[in-house]
């Protein structure tokens, strides 16, 4: 509904139920204000007064709703006097604001605008600046207690660190129980800084920028938009971009402080060739110059092309493989698989999803026809029940975490399934602390309980699914009693959670790698999908099956077809019509055989079947399981080319190292976890001679006598749109204003936030029967602990990017092995002590740390730190259908070092 209103005499039509301030803003006019915070009633500065009605009455525009035919005056002599008077009396108490803060201080800006002169200021406050936080300063003397930081921290991010302390004239902001900011539970998201109108909370060393630019954050798959301040061609600060439909101005520590890698002096700037071929191994303290020789691009491309031709003629196309980078753009990944398939002629292409969410994509695709999240992030606002399984959202996806916390505060039923206590546990109705790896048993028992108690959605089952009877029969073994014995969770809790999920609808399920990175990862995913299918919790707002994707473009990477056996857009490799379409478009034959997954390629290399590997942007040595096995495999290759932005541990093994542009240095698109394709904007030229990946592929193809036909990244998107039906309506131009969620059927379609509404993409929803196999008890006896490898909030994967940020390094200084205090006592360990962990694959040493959140019998650590190379321990145990490694459940034993 719209209403008619008059703003300074001009008639406008405005959406009803909005504030005067918002209504005026939509006409392009900003009413002066110091405390307004989008979506929250604050109303404390009182600067936003306007006059309404006749005779005119003054009201705060931020907290007064418009009414039909309202006459609003935003300027008048009375208002001018009022505003000037208010700014004057505020300035009187803040003599510190004296022109030095420039654009960061709204108060000063207004003081100038209203010609404010302060006579007889109050004596300056006697306060000390809090500089205890590594990246943020707090100067109480500049604070006007507008409370925006409190809203940002407590209500928007729901980190709940900042509050107003004390009363009246003595009010001030405090962190936790009034401790220095650096000692508080602050997670360094920066929302308080971004919201502060005066610079009282400010980045250390903040300076005004020459220009700003907006692009997508280079980290996780939530896909936040970030506004960067740029000075002297360097990013000097970052803040959340308010206009984004994804993050609405919020960021996490990585987005806020993790941009320094771009300017790092360690960036690769020229192609490098190993001086002594054959001696593949780590630098081991040697300088890059000692081991590598810089070469021109021409020479690098020559070498690479020669090696490819050589391998192809001697060993056949099957001997060549390539791994795509999921931090690269859709355009890059598309170009990569086209290069591999059409120019090189092999289907040995993969991307890092195999190391994470492949079971999710592939089982969702099996059941529904689309290997992607069925719903959108915004559905958490509509859901009545949220089930979070195997998800460390707090650390891995902080901005999505805020949305879930907000929902929990509003009273949603929150159920957590995780072997470890996580931050979110405190907000949950139930936290099921199950034994690692037993998820599929839990969910199957829930399904059985729901069916046995007639809590299922019978209509949905009969009209929208297939294979139900067989599925139902397969559930026979999964009684509550059995599930309780296997998972360690009491029967009544399993029943209660099942009941809540089935009846307190709409219910949505989120999961991440705690579900997929198991020997039975695909079964885990399927057991969740089955739950949604029997309760009809899919295809409606507030429901859904949502794997939260990891890397910023891992969804896009799979969409683009960098997956062996799956052409772009998940189009079947062996379908003749599909093959015809691609062959015609590319004027080339497609390979005849289906290729290997990345973990299989490493295996093939070890066996001498793969001869040439082209790794782009993956630190395989650290991220693949059984690191030592992976190293041995890489050493066995005839030729290893690595393309990256840094000299990673993997690049150290390469024969040829190619310098790539980072996402700040090229245009293209990323597809986030909710299928939203968003534009990546180029901010700088790449350093030195580094180039966007797609350009490198095009040049290589040319040397192989294949014409990729790409003049620009937007050319590539045109080709993508022509070949992938769900991207058909996407173009760079359309994405300029807002991202679009695929499927986007044509140029007029505005995208799809909700999949499978009336029918599943594949027709009917398909159940998948799963089975359960107990672990070998003798293994448990020898290796009594289950090791979970996860992540911290501040770091990203193998830290190639995050470790270059000064602030992040200061916040989180190193890796630990976290252990339950009871176990520590039993093993006679103390925090900080170095211990040895051994699995059947390898052994490492590391410092142990007590943590109550880790249950007895479980160890937790990360893979961020090079001095704690945890994947040395993970065995090459895979989920059979997808070859995803079992990072989340490695049997280990621990020993004291004497």
């Amino acid at each position: 509904m719209t209403m008619k209103i008059y703003i300074d005499g001009t008639a406008f039509s405005a959406e009803e139920n909005q504030s005067i301030m918002d209504a005026v803003k939509s006409t392009g006019l900003e009413i002066p204000n110091l405390c307004s915070y989008n979506g929250h009633d604050n109303g404390v500065c009182r600067l936003c007064m306007v006059e309404v009605g006749k005779p005119p009455r003054m009201v705060p525009s931020c907290s007064t709703k418009i009414t039909e035919n309202m006459e609003i005056k935003t300027r008048s002599e009375t208002l001018d006097d009022y505003r000037k008077g208010l700014i004057t009396v505020i300035m009187k108490d803040h003599p510190q604001h004296s022109g030095s803060d420039g654009e960061k201080c709204k108060l000063e800006t207004y003081a100038e605008e209203f010609n404010v002169e302060v006579e007889r200021p109050h004596p300056a406050m006697d306060v000390t600046i809090d500089s205890s936080h590594p990246g943020i300063l707090y100067d109480p003397a500049k604070c006007i207690l507008c409370r925006k930081c409190v809203i940002a921290c407590d209500f928007d991010q729901v980190n709940e660190v900042i509050s107003i302390s004390d009363r009246g004239q003595n009010s001030r902001i405090a962190f936790d129980l009034d401790v220095p900011m650096g000692d508080s539970k602050c997670v360094s998201c920066g929302a308080c800084v971004d919201s502060c109108p005066t610079g009282a909370l400010i980045e250390k060393g903040w300076e005004p920028a020459d220009r700003t630019a907006v692009t997508i954050c280079p980290y996780c798959a939530v896909g936040c938009s970030v506004e960067y301040g740029i000075k002297d061609n360097k990013i000097i600060w970052a803040r959340g971009y308010n206009e984004s439909d994804v993050n609405h101005g919020k960021l996490c520590v990585k987005g806020k402080f993790g941009f320094e890698f771009e300017m790092s002096r360690y960036r690769l700037t020229v192609p490098l060739v190993r001086k002594r071929p054959g001696e593949r191994g780590p630098l081991n303290g040697r300088s890059i110059d000692e081991v590598f020789r810089p070469v021109s691009w021409d020479e690098a491309i020559d070498i690479m092309a020669r090696e490819i031709l050589n391998a192809r003629s001697v060993h056949g196309r099957q001997s060549i493989g390539g791994i795509a980078c999921d931090r690269a753009t859709n355009e890059d990944v598309f170009a990569f698989q086209k290069f591999m398939r059409a120019a090189v002629g092999t289907d040995n292409v993969d991307q890092s999803a195999t190391l994470c969410h492949a079971p999710s994509a592939s089982m969702l695709s099996y059941a529904t026809g689309a290997g992607a999240s069925t719903n959108s992030i915004k559905d958490v606002r509509v859901a009545r029940t949220i089930l979070m399984a195997g998800s460390n959202v707090d650390r891995a996806h902080p901005v999505l975490y805020s949305e879930i916390k907000k929902a929990a505060k509003k009273g949603v039923n929150l159920i957590i399934v995780d072997p470890r206590k996580v931050e979110l546990s405190r907000l949950a109705n139930r936290h099921l602390l199950l034994r690692p790896g037993t998820d599929s048993v839990l969910f199957s028992a829930m399904a059985r309980y729901i069916l046995d108690n007639e809590l299922a959605d019978r209509d949905f089952i009969s009209s929208r699914t297939e294979g139900f009877d067989a599925f139902r029969d397969s559930l026979a073994p999964f009684t509550l009693e059995f599930a309780s014995r296997v998972t360690g969770i009491p029967e009544n809790e399993i029943a209660e959670v099942a009941r809540t999920y089935a009846t307190q609808t709409p219910s949505v399920i989120f999961w991440t790698l705690g579900i997929t990175e198991h020997e039975n990862g695909s079964d885990n995913v399927s057991s969740l999908i089955n739950l949604a299918l029997i309760t009809g919790n899919v295809g409606k707002p507030g429901t859904g099956l949502s794997p939260i994707r990891g890397q910023n473009n891992v969804q896009g990477g799979a969409d683009m077809g960098a997956v062996a056996g799956s052409l772009p857009g998940y189009q079947p490799f062996f379908d003749n019509g599909v093959r015809e379409k691609f062959q015609k478009s590319w004027s080339s034959e497609l390979p005849e055989f289906q290729g290997w997954k990345s973990t299989e390629m490493i295996e093939a290399a070890r066996k001498g079947m793969l001869k040439l590997l082209y790794i782009t942007g993956e630190n395989s040595v650290r991220s693949h399981p059984d690191s030592e096995g992976a190293v041995a495999a890489l050493k066995k290759l005839d030729f290893l080319a690595v393309q990256d932005i840094f000299m990673t541990e993997t690049a150290e093994y390469a024969d040829l190292v190619l310098p790539a542009a980072s996402s700040y240095e090229k245009s293209g698109t990323f597809t986030n976890t909710e299928r939203r394709v968003q534009l990546v904007n180029k901010i700088f030229d790449p350093p030195g001679e580094a180039k966007p990946d797609w350009k490198i592929y095009s040049e290589l193809a040319e040397k192989l006598n294949f014409d990729m036909k790409f003049g620009s990244s937007s050319d590539i998107m045109e080709e993508i749109a022509s070949l992938i039906p769900s991207y058909a309506g996407i173009s760079h131009e359309r994405l300029m204003s807002k991202g679009l969620q695929w499927p986007v059927k044509d140029k007029n379609h505005t995208g799809t936030d909700l999949l499978h509404t009336d029918s599943f993409i594949r027709g009917k929803g398909r159940f998948r029967i799963i089975s359960w196999r107990e672990k070998d008890p003798s293994e448990i006896h020898t290796y009594p602990y289950s090791l979970i490898i996860g992540r911290q909030r501040e770091h990203y994967h193998t830290s190639t990017m995050t470790s270059r940020s000064k602030v992040i390094s200061l916040i989180e200084g190193g890796g630990f092995i976290e252990m339950n205090p009871d176990d520590m006592r039993k093993e006679n360990f103390s925090t900080g002590e170095e211990i040895e962990i051994q699995s059947k694959t390898g052994r490492i040493r590391g410092k142990v740390k007590e943590n109550n959140d880790v249950p007895s019998g479980v160890l937790f650590t990360t893979f961020h730190y090079s001095d704690l190379p945890t994947n040395t321990l993970t065995p090459d145990t895979y989920d059979p259908p997808t070859k995803t490694p079992a990072y989340k459940d490695t049997r280990v034993k621990v020993t004291k070092i004497r």
């Binding site: 110091l34 009633d41 109303g43 404390v44 500065c45 009182r46 600067l47 007064m49 003054m58 705060p60 907290s63 006097d81 009022y82 008077g85 208010l86 004057t88 009396v89 505020i90 009187k92 108490d93 006579e119 007889r120 109050h122 006007i144 207690l145 507008c146 921290c153 407590d154 709940e160 660190v161 900042i162 509050s163 107003i164 302390s165 004390d166 009363r167 009246g168 004239q169 003595n170 009010s171 405090a174 962190f175 936790d176 129980l177 009034d178 539970k185 929990a408 505060k409 009273g411 405190r426 907000l427 109705n429």
Partner: protein
């Protein structure tokens, strides 16, 4: 579950000892117990300094007018951290007073005297027990209302009588009652505002202590009329005696209701003391305090009648508003419109007989000052008709009638009907200094016009008092006062500005003389000499 238990946290916190209150460890454990984040605990705990161990010393205007300067000396045996300045203890006629562990003390020249058994004054009849109340036809009106259940008729009476609230704002009673009774929500509250805080006001306390039954009856009927199923009588933290009196009266009454067979038809009743400050008397700040949050006014709309206590429709009325309503309802069957009803007025400051008095509603000010107070108008320089928030009148206006419209016509406000008299010998700058300091201290700090404005006004008088203010400072303060009048969220910021503007209206000359270094009353600049 997520949202912790703030009210329980606050209750346990403020009933802890001084030692506990200072300990971060104690607060963080308490936070955990009640499911609060540390920041929430800090937010609440730092707002309320209350603990049972504190000795409170009153600095409200009536007490500071009567101060002999030795109050602190008299309390020297207490360590500093146990002493706390407060702005009104509600014993203004015995000024200057202090409070400790529920007991009141007068800090006179003769030393510290416990004010044990209150002489309430001859106007107030103490109803000792239920029997006496029943003999005075107590609860008859309630029982007959229960029989007739004539809600609409009673509402109509409230409207016809044009009843106005006695809590300070003088808001038409009917509008709120109508709105709450129109709401279809299951849960509705009647909140009885007994958080009496206006300096110079103590009539609510006396009314409750002398006849607790009367308030119970009035609240029960009011709740039934608007359909509220729960009554909360919220007393200020110091009113321990009133709490006990009300609670025991309620217990006895319940027996009576039970034996009369009406107990099941009655709403729930909670009688509680609420920690807070002057601002806590403001209705939305009171609801916040009851919910265990910082006692800061809410933004309105939404009004309490839509979204009030714990998010439910809430009728909030002052103690005396309800009592006055009951009085009128009792007269209803008789020739009620001709009988004006009576009101309790407080009189403090520079008069011979300070105290609380009952007069026909709308009596001339002179009656209160001379007949009851025993003083001559001609000895006074100014009268503040409504505590510190009703503005200022001069002694020339002694014929003003003590009711809303008449006082308003004279440019001031009746507020709670509590008059503070200022003697001819006083220096207005000195008095205003105390008043503006009060507002500076009591501003909750939420909105900027008030937090910054009260600070400026207070520093202006501080400077005037020391001969350090200029005419320009006064001009600038006028503009600030204008901002406060227009922009403050609640009446506190406006009251502060209004007092200043009224002082200019009547006593600008006196202020100006201070600018040129003279105090006509020879009060200021004494130390310098």
């Amino acid at each position: 579950m997520y949202n912790g238990h703030k009210a329980e946290f606050l209750e346990e916190l403020t009933s802890g000892s001084n030692e506990d209150r200072k300990s971060k460890d104690f607060i963080s454990k308490l936070a955990e117990k009640h499911g609060l984040r540390l920041s929430e605990a800090e937010n609440i705990a730092s707002f309320y300094t209350h603990s049972e161990g504190k000795v409170k010393v009153c600095r409200g205007l009536p007490c500071s007018l009567k101060s002999t300067g030795i109050e602190r000396e008299l309390l020297a045996k207490y360590p500093d951290e146990e002493l706390e300045d407060v702005s009104c203890l509600g014993y203004c006629d015995k000024a200057p007073v202090a409070w400790s562990q529920g007991k009141y003390y007068q800090l006179g020249n003769g030393g510290t005297k416990e004010l044990e058994k209150q002489p309430y004054g001859s106007d107030f009849r103490e109803v000792k027990d239920l029997k006496e109340f029943l003999e005075l036809n107590g609860y008859e009106t309630l029982i007959s209302f229960l029989k007739k259940n004539n809600r609409d008729e009673v509402l109509q009476m409230v409207n016809d009588l044009n009843l106005r609230g006695f809590g300070g704002a003088g808001f038409p009673v009917y509008i709120k009652w109508k709105a709450v009774s129109a709401s279809n929500e299951q849960k509705k509250f009647l909140l009885v505002n007994a958080h009496e805080g206006e300096p110079g006001t103590f009539k609510d306390r006396i009314l409750m202590e002398t006849n607790p039954y009367e308030l119970l009856e009035a609240s029960l009927i009011a709740a039934l009329v608007v359909g509220a199923d729960e009554i909360i009588i919220a007393l200020k933290h110091e009113y321990l005696q009133a709490e006990n009196t009300l609670k025991s009266a309620f217990e006895k009454s319940m027996d009576f209701f039970h034996s009369s067979g009406v107990d099941t038809a009655l709403p729930k009743m909670r009688i509680m003391r609420v920690p807070g400050y002057y601002i806590t008397g403001e209705e939305s700040a009171l609801m916040e305090a009851i919910e265990g949050k910082r006692s800061e006014p809410r933004l309105r709309p939404p009004y309490p009648a839509e979204i009030g206590l714990f998010g439910k429709p809430t009728l909030i009325d002052n103690v005396e508003t309800l009592l006055y309503f009951l009085g009128r309802l009792r007269e209803y069957s008789k020739d009620w419109s001709k009988i004006p009803g009576t009101k309790s007025y407080c009189l403090t400051g520079d008069v011979k007989n300070p105290g609380a008095y009952i007069l026909p509603y709308g009596s001339p000010a002179l009656d209160l000052i001379s007949k009851k107070g025993g003083s001559n108008l001609s000895d006074l320089k100014a009268i503040l008709p409504g505590g510190l928030s009703g503005g200022i009148l001069t002694s020339a206006e002694g014929n003003v009638k003590l009711e809303f419209d008449s006082i308003k016509a004279h440019g001031a406000g009746m507020g709670t009907g509590s008059m503070i008299a200022i003697s001819k010998d006083r220096c207005m700058v000195d008095v205003m200094d105390s008043i503006e300091e009060f507002f500076e201290r009591e501003s909750c700090g939420k909105c900027m016009p008030c937090r910054y404005g009260t600070k400026e006004l207070s520093s202006l008088f501080e400077n005037l008092k020391h001969g350090e203010a200029t005419g320009k400072d006064i001009e600038n303060a006028k503009r600030t006062a204008d901002v406060m009048m227009k922009g403050s969220i609640c009446g506190l910021g406006q009251a502060s500005a209004r007092m200043f503007l009224d002082s200019l209206k009547y006593f600008q000359e006196e202020l100006d003389e201070h600018v040129s270094g003279k105090c006509p009353s020879n009060v200021c600049f004494q130390e310098a000499r």
